[in-house]
């Protein structure tokens, strides 16, 4: 009598999932690949289909997501428009000043020791900036300690996760040119952190000005 009931009960789970998938489809009719739809599908209240069809559909990484470090620079701002100037050749924002002072804390704290820094010198005297900066992203374990311990908010974690390449000995050694990202970009991917750090910086400057 009871034989096979267990199978039917089990299949009912699958069946209910199928139905919920269609309900979800109707709910998001016409915009199945919309980022909002995708986020809702994988939210804590999501039911129905759960998976994302990568690479056609992509979820936006969460703000704290960390992958390969990047070096921040302040972009040169056009005085007329108040917007960062853009280099026509590279399409990147023009560097006004780098934040890195070449103190070497990131390379010391790095667990797999994947950061190499050459400090800039002028007339034999060390300068507070780097001449060369390399990160071997094959060795990097994405732990984020360099960003955590950088005293100048200069090294931060990027969001770019599509890093596959055909070879690794050249394209996976990121040099300074590849690592430098503008603070505008940082503010766009880490808005909360950016606002907090700016507020702290302004408070510090105000305290300094008082003295």
């Amino acid at each position: 009598m009871a034989f096979g009931l267990g199978v039917l009960r089990g299949m009912s789970i699958t069946m209910s999932r199928v139905i919920k998938t269609y309900i979800g489809d109707f709910k998001h009719l016409g915009k199945p690949h919309d980022p909002k739809t995708l986020a809702e599908r994988q939210s804590v209240r999501g039911s129905g289909i759960f998976t994302i069809q990568y690479p056609e559909e992509k979820l936006k990484p969460q703000e704290n997501f960390r992958l390969i470090p990047m070096l921040l620079y302040e972009p040169l701002v056009d005085e007329k428009t108040g917007k960062p100037m853009i280099d026509e050749k590279t399409g990147k924002e023009v560097v006004a000043s780098e934040r890195c002072t070449s103190c070497g804390i990131c390379s010391k704290v790095c667990p797999p020791q994947c950061i190499w820094i050459v400090r800039a010198t002028k007339d034999g005297k060390p300068q507070p900036k780097s001449a060369e900066f390399y990160i071997d992203i094959d060795v990097c374990m994405n732990c984020g300690m360099c960003a955590e311990f950088c005293p100048f908010d200069s090294i931060k974690m990027d969001h770019d996760y599509e890093l596959a390449n055909y070879e690794r000995h050249v394209s996976h050694i990121f040099d300074k040119a590849q690592l430098l990202k503008s603070t505008t970009y940082y503010a766009s991917i880490h808005p909360t952190d950016w606002h907090q750090e700016e507020a702290e910086r302004k408070a510090k400057e105000a305290a300094k000005a008082k003295k």
Partner: protein
């Protein structure tokens, strides 16, 4: 098939300290010449009297040290020291530390396998890594490295060829750090040492013998069958990683199982001794990659014990939340994979993966990474919880997860096929489980109410009310249902923690990337989803640990696999292995 009668679960009472001084006095009464010294750091026992002392500690009814937590060794350069952590499961409390010295040249220590079978794998590991010979060990052979390996890598005079210095940070990285690809600096062929006159074309590995421990003739044979050795793995989807099982079978009956380990070995402990204390944190993520948050917690607990610091309230709550979410993740996968091993390919486990995904999203929101969290710091956590974290968590632990757990229980525990295959199969009797140092769900399924969260509460586990579920006979069914019960217990802790979590600081003092540990040793442990994860750390005043040892629960639980599987059919072996719940990243280290 040996079916033991159900035994009543033994209650474990919380913390009574095993004071080494008092116990040393008791040993002295029995064996006046056995104790060399006794201090808060442990009892130093004379090398040749160790078996007597261990036997006395184990058998004496008022001491009853029936459980060997951890066995490791330290290379002090003028001598070796073997360290044992014993405790009584009935009393609980911090383990008693026994230490034995051995000569630097040709070190010998008597084996404790006759007293504690759990010492078997751990002594082999010490022999492999430090070259200490354990007299009387039934099968002293390398366990993680290959048989032809030259040297013992955890000795201080062994330098790994790949690395330019013995300690990090390396001087070549700053301030003239011109990048060199590692292979260019150190060509691959120089990275491997071979025995003298080694020729790969003629090399014969030591002849595989059938292990003598535990072999019994299958009784009541109807057919005349031959014993054969069947290799399962190392590349096999059912072995949960790269694990090789050398199974001796008679017909279809298992006579002996020998796990062959080391395919994922990367000498985690040597890496750990090269790193600074903080640099080890992300490496602990990679031990058991399913439970990285809990590994972080165990390591932080151990280092904080050594440094003598305490995290602030909010950080403690965050830690507990993360550790219990990890337990939920691990168990939901474990029960899914048991079904996988039973032949229900991927259906239950994929439903489990969905819930796991939601938890991993929370981990990513808090720490920045889904699996390699690297979230705990000494005296706190890396960053505060982001906005919206607790709202999501509240919904999950109060509504969604209880619902999911109920569904799993209805469909999986009451499944007829599962009941037919799991009941009275893979039994690990109570005393055997204790003797083999099985930990975590495997131990509790055999009816022993022992949980580190109760026995020696770390973090703030003494504040929460939660059940410690136990099984009755220790079969696969018990090991399955106990995980569901533990998921419920975790949810109850999470509910309390979410309600009570205070606002405030998340870090004690200033963050220090080169914390210096004082001279001394500490054994910190935590109840990981897979069992007791312990870290034995020795500090020498510098920023790098002098000795860094991981007591890996999966590795030691695997030692009891032979006992669980013997006498059952070979088709049950994979499910029995699944019910132990191992991750090879942690087993091989």
């Amino acid at each position: 098939m040996a079916v033991t009668a159900p035994t009543a679960p033994i209650e474990t009472k919380p913390a009574t300290v095993n004071d080494p001084q008092v116990i040393a006095e008791k040993i002295k009464l029995q064996y006046p010449d056995a104790v060399e010294s006794a201090s808060a750091q442990g009892i130093v026992v004379k090398n040749n009297r160790l078996p007597d002392v261990a036997r006395y500690l184990h058998d004496s009814p008022d001491l009853a040290f029936d459980y060997l937590h951890n066995l490791t060794s330290v290379d002090w350069q003028d001598r070796f020291e073997v360290v044992y952590h014993l405790s009584s499961l009935v009393r609980g409390g911090a383990p008693l530390v026994l230490k034995v010295n051995a000569a630097r040249e040709d070190p010998h220590v008597p084996s404790l396998v006759p007293v504690y079978r759990g010492a078997d794998f751990q002594e082999r590991e010490v022999y492999d890594m430090m070259g200490i010979r354990f007299d009387g060990h039934p099968y002293l052979r390398r366990i993680l490295l290959w048989d032809g390996f030259v040297g013992h890598p955890l000795r201080k005079d062994y330098h790994e060829p790949y690395y330019e210095e013995d300690k990090k940070p390396f001087g070549s990285r700053w301030d003239k750090g011109h990048h060199v690809i590692a292979e260019d600096r150190n060509p691959w062929h120089d990275n491997v040492q071979y025995p003298a006159n080694f020729d790969s074309t003629t090399y014969q590995p030591p002849r595989d013998q059938i292990r003598t421990i535990g072999i019994e003739e299958a009784k009541a044979k109807k057919l005349r069958t031959d014993k054969i050795v069947l290799n399962i793995g190392p590349q096999h989807p059912s072995t949960h990683g790269v694990l090789r099982l050398k199974v001796t079978i008679d017909g279809e009956t298992i006579i002996a199982v020998e796990p062959v380990l080391g395919y994922l070995h990367r000498n985690h402990e040597k890496i750990g001794e090269r790193n600074t204390f903080l640099q080890n944190m992300p490496y602990t993520d990679r031990l058991d990659y399913v439970t990285s948050m809990a590994n972080n917690l165990a390591y932080a607990v151990a280092v904080e014990k050594l440094l003598g610091i305490k995290p602030p309230e909010r950080a403690e709550y965050i830690r507990v939340i993360m550790a219990e979410l990890t337990r939920f993740v691990n168990h939901i996968l474990a029960i899914g994979f048991i079904y996988n091993d039973l032949g229900a390919f991927y259906t239950p486990v994929v439903y489990g993966f969905e819930e796991r995904e939601l938890i991993l999203d929370l981990f990513e929101a808090a720490s920045g990474s889904r699996m390699m969290c690297n979230y705990m710091r000494f005296g706190g956590v890396a960053r505060d919880l982001p906005d919206g974290f607790l709202d999501k968590l509240q919904y999950l632990v109060n509504e969604r997860f209880p619902r999911v757990t109920d569904t799993l229980e209805t469909y999986l525990v009451k499944n007829e096929i599962f009941n037919a295959r799991a009941r009275n199969v893979g039994i690990l009797p109570r005393d055997v489980a204790i003797n083999y140092s099985a930990a975590g769900p495997v131990l509790r399924a055999s009816g022993i109410k022992y949980d580190v969260r109760r026995a020696e509460p770390y973090s703030i586990y003494d504040r929460f009310e939660f059940d410690i579920p136990t099984g009755t006979i220790g079969d696969m069914h018990d090991r399955f249902t106990i995980r569901i019960a533990e998921m419920r217990a975790s949810l109850s802790i999470l509910k309390q923690a979410v309600k009570q979590i205070p606002a405030g600081e998340i870090q004690t003092g200033k963050k220090n990337y080169q914390a210096r540990a004082p001279k001394g040793d500490a054994y910190g442990r935590a109840e990981n989803p897979k069992g007791e994860l312990g870290f034995y750390l020795v500090g020498d005043g510098g920023p790098n640990p002098y000795r860094y040892h991981v007591r890996s629960p999966a590795f030691i639980n695997l030692g009891a696999l032979n006992e669980m599987a013997r006498g059952y059919k070979v088709a049950d072996l994979i499910v029995i292995l699944g019910s132990v719940d191992i991750t090879m990243g942690e087993v091989d280290r």
